[in-house]
Amino acid sequence: MAAMFFVVTMALYFAATVSYLAYLLWATEALSKISLGITAVGFTSHSIALGVGMVGATDVSSPGFHEALSFSSWVLILVFIVVEFRHRMHVLGSFIVPLALISLVFAAALPESAPTLTPVFRTLWVHVTLSMLGTVGFAIAFVAGVMYLIQDGLLKSKRFNVLYSKLPALDFLDHLNQQSIVTGFPLLTLGIITGALSAEFSRGSYLNWNPEQTWALVTWVFYFVVLMGRLTVGWRAKRAAYLTIIGFAGVILTLIGVVLKGHGPVS
């Protein structure tokens, strides 16, 4: 049943993506409403899929990348819907919904609830949830960064097209970028700590310098520097946008690397 809802969700997110990309070109009020409608139905279906999956999950099954990615996709859409209702920022959908779709497609490519090789603790769920929430924060910072650079480029080159008129103000995007990192960074920090704890439980060591752990730490240090740079020496605006895009590329690489290595649980 969860699988069926999962497929329906993916189809709906795909339709919403197409619709939101069309919105970038024509930017009519009708398109934004249709897109939001499809997204909302998709989100409902997604929630059901996740809920059914949760119910079906037992103590012995550990969350795999499938669940993690599906969950982060769900959070992305949730954040988008909240922001959309608060700020009426339709164009955000054109960036976030495709990202959520990509996340979901990756999830679909991976097996559900990978078999557990190591003793599983409830902390792993906490670890995955926190890490993924942190990742969603960075994903939104990434989206804000991309939108910032586009708007910055349009303003600099004085090309006043549909996109220009739909994209929000630069300082809003910069603020969104900052807020996403400020929110995402502590979540990732907690995610890493709980990960280390569960690794200690499962493998007996907090840190064994495997590639995922190394990358996760590199990512953490990177975002730490970005955040400090912003708060102390004014790494904002364009520089912040570039840095968060680079940072998110690092996050994606970590995830892809881990997935390709065929690891089951996140560690």
Partner: protein
Amino acid sequence: MHIVVVGLSHKTAPVEIREKLAIPESRMGEALTRLCSYQGVREGILLSTCNRVEVYAVVDEIESGYGRIQDFLADAHLSLSSEQLTPHLYWHEGDRAISHLFRVASSLDSMIVGESQILGQIKEAFEVALTHKATGIILNKVVKKAISVAKRVRTETKIAEMAVSVSYAAVELAKKIFSDLSEKTVLLVGAGEMAKLAARHFIANGVRHVRVTTRNPQQALELANRFGGTAIAFEEFREDMASADIVLVSTGAAHYLVSEDDVQRSVKQRMNRPMFLIDISVPRNIDPAVRHVDNAFLFDIDDLKTRVERNRGERLNEAEKAERVVVDEVGVVRHWLQSLEVTPTIVALRARVDDIKQAELDKTLGRLANLSAPERELVEAMASSIVNKLIHNTMVTLKAEVNTSEGTAFIEAARRFFSLGDPAVSDVNGNETSASEPCHSSQEDIRDSEEVTPRSGSKAPDR
């Protein structure tokens, strides 16, 4: 008697020529007196703004009139010869001259179509001309008409919104950089009209912090008071620029006041918070190289206009509507001017009295039904004789005075005395303006005509 205009504007002459030709307010009176002293120039008015210098005049002959006015323009400025001037001048007469004035007043000919400043400038020029008795019956009416046409254009079309739209465009752009303007600071450098308008727009859109600087500290203080902001010293504004989120520059300086380094430094001091710079000066006051500075967004007047161009379709529509209003009104004035010619006035006068005579005859003869044919003829002859004697003197006076400077005043008077359907009385600015003309010269016309009448109309039985 012809209305002519000779002048140059931002469309035909560069600013170097325009500024040389511009007549300062203090010398306006002297210039008007000199203009009217030229032979064959009956009436004159001078319009001198930063975008145009124009002489409107009523002259006896078109060609010689053009020459006189050109001499006048060149004379005032020893640094410019008539030959240097010629390529930049335009000459219009009659309907085209009137239409030109209407278009200028309606701001259709302005650098920023729809701006309202020009109307005020025309009113001022008119006041000065009235004070110096430089205008007469024709220019008084035409200029007043121009003012009313401009008002009509403003109310009937959306053209005024377009000028506002340049400052509107500035605000709109700012909103793409800053989501909340209320916490932002605007720095106004210089006191150019457009920049002031833009500053006002920013304030209307929530900006609460305004800083003003001009070369003249007194003016900066006045502006700061008006905008509820603070004045800062002109010498220090570059150092102070970092505190401003929006910098509006509009000064008369012929060189760059703000360099790339200035902006680079400010952005650094601002910890890379974006800066929005608007250069409304011509020539530009902010180095265009500022475009290369990250997090600084520079827009000049052309960029803003391009932004405005997006509503081009509507804009053209409105301008077309305005042009139609102008054409309409030129027709009204033409009609009035024609009525000021002597022949149609005499014909109209003749027709008017004949109508009265015929009506009275019909009434009387209707009651005297038993009159014989010769008796009827006698009564008719008497009626004709009375009206002919009554209008004879008017006719002779009109014909005699037509070529003197008061000719139009006589014709106008005759038309009013005999109610000869003067369209101008009812259509131009309403009745009260023609009835109580503030213009001194028209009163003079009346006084003159009283003095003149006995000379030319010695046969007048009443005098």
